[in-house]
Subunit: 327 residues, 2 copies
DNA sequence: TTGTAGGCGTTATCAT
DNA sequence: ATGATAACGCCTACAA
């Protein structure tokens, strides 16, 4: 175990703890060449490693941030997290990732836990179920950045995708390709991003004078998606195109189509809202709406670190443009 | 900010700090009903949250473990990490994941960093480039578990896959299907798991009286894989089957085959050593060698926590059986 | 049953 | 240029 402490180094080098501390923190300004060498040697001899816990206690900074994702299973979440981690690495920080599993209780527990561990700030994909807590943190001035889902009326930095606009464009593209019977499937409309995607869908239909049909709009838990799809494709006029609201929905649809021996794109066309790892390698290649996960993660991390270092007053809501990749 | 401390609670409740400490740590044994209620109230009123940094300093435990993966890009690494996190959650611990990026320097930096932060233990996918450091940790009795790659002669707990055996079986299966010209492609043979896969391949050929050919065995960086595949398929007798040593190699091969308009399985058969997220949904479905990532992660976490809690003397090397999923 | 005092390993302030 | 001393917030004997 690392039991050699600064006091040991000090004794070994024949100087005081303060001087060793100076050395550790690269404050060589007034340090004599001799002491410097002695300390260096002592550290090497003893194999001394500073204790960050003690340092943190004193400085009230842990150099750790927390990431709380609503659902780690999404490709998008993992890409964003990775990008945040990269950004942290470059800034000598570390990240703890926690998976709230779409569960408000778990989210609260993690927020409390991470704050108890004194992490310097939090990036949250909010479940939306702890509005009071979000608000309290913001009011206390605790550094937070929210991602992916908007919480209306919350005055805090948000990093968001332009869901509505992107969906609008994708559906319009489908319509231009000649589709008239378009369906959309998402998970339950409990968070802003899903609602916005539905909005974009409706608006596109409207603008192209297609009447939206309630039975073409599915919003359900993944576990019940299969039977909903069944119902959808048993309609007299089943859709010729369907937009999958995210990657999980996509996988479920794919498996459904395969089971029913429906071919893409002959029997039904598919667009996915989310990056799919090898969309370019599937057969046929998949048309997707790609969110700039990497940029969004980097931005969130940047905003958080700026906040932690009190470097800037933060903007409130930043929207990123998604890209429709037609294949 | 959490500025309210135990002393504040004590003062507010009209008791001493120690009593509050007792309360926080659920030592109600000798505590009067009255004090208990007063403290409870004080905590609620003040919104007190214990400071884990201070607690950690005193108790020399942070309730955090570190995971250092050699390359986070692999599906296997992420599945294992997820599984470790789940296990930690159930045991009131947290995990910090670091990506060494196959870089020994980075690996060392992370190990030092995490230990400086006093994490309670480490799970490492070793790059193999810091043998002395691994050894030192083990000798110091610092809790460590190694994953995925063996480091010969290191007396420490390892959680490993039976790479050789699994590859042997996969190749044998191909041979039974009538293949005679079998190739294998892996990343460079710098770590044990890749070497073992090659060994299993050779052994299977041998046992079936097929002469191994050097030009059918590719071990190269991903960046140079494409040109190696080019060479492979320009041979007079190109292989009819190829085993991809991991998921990254697989993606590269897939993209190569697509470019050359080679069909699976008509022109060439493919087996992948690694779980591919939607292998069952690709067309045609992919035959894979699946490592039990979830179980391996849970086991590693279990061993580490046991070690941290000094609950057991640890076994040295545990091998997990991979499953050949034929599709 | 509760309080007092000291220490965990640093850093910060102020002397010297 | 370097050192003494007091925090940081909590836990733990031991005393009362």
């Amino acid at each position: 175990m690392t039991k050699v402490t600064m006091a040991d180094v000090a004794k070994f080098a024949g100087v005081s703890k303060s001087t060793v501390s100076q050395y550790i923190n690269h404050r060589y300004e007034y340090m004599g060449e001799g002491t410097r060498r002695k300390i260096k040697e002592a550290i090497e001899q003893l194999g001394y490693q500073p204790n960050y816990v003690a340092k943190s206690l004193k400085q009230k900074r842990t150099f750790i941030i927390g990431i709380i994702v609503a659902d780690i299973v999404h490709r998008f979440s993992t890409e964003v997290s990775r990008s945040i981690e990269d950004f942290c690495y470059e800034n000598e920080m570390q990240a703890i990732i926690c998976n709230a599993d779409n569960n408000g209780k778990k989210e609260k527990k993690y927020i409390d836990m991470l704050r108890a561990k004194q992490v310097d700030g939090l990036i949250i994909f909010p479940t939306g179920q702890n509005e009071d807590l979000y608000k309290k943190m913001v009011e206390e001035g605790y550094p937070v950045v929210f991602m992916d889902r908007d919480i209306p009326h919350l005055k805090a930095p948000f990093v968001l995708a332009n869901n509505q606009q992107a969906t609008y464009e994708a559906i319009s593209y489908f319509i231009q390709k000649g589709h008239q019977r378009l369906a959309i499937a998402t998970q339950p409309l409990t968070i802003s991003s899903r609602k916005e995607r539905i909005e974009g869908y409706k608006q596109a239909l409207n603008d192209h004078h297609i009447e939206p049909r309630a039975d073409y709009m599915i919003s359900t838990d993944i576990s019940e998606l299969h039977q909903n799809l069944n119902r959808l494709f048993q309609l007299d006029m089943p859709p010729t195109a369907i937009l999958a609201g995210n990657d999980l929905v996509f996988l479920e649809i794919l498996s459904f189509l395969q089971e029913k021996k429906l071919k893409i794109p002959e029997d039904v066309s598919l667009i996915v809202f989310d990056n799919i790892p090898f969309a370019h390698l599937t057969n046929p290649p998949m048309t997707i709406i790609a969110q700039p996960a990497f940029e969004m993660g980097a931005k969130a991390a940047d905003l958080l670190l700026k906040q932690i270092n009190k470097e800037a007053i933060l903007p409130e809501r930043i929207y990123f443009t998604c890209e429709l990749i037609c294949r």
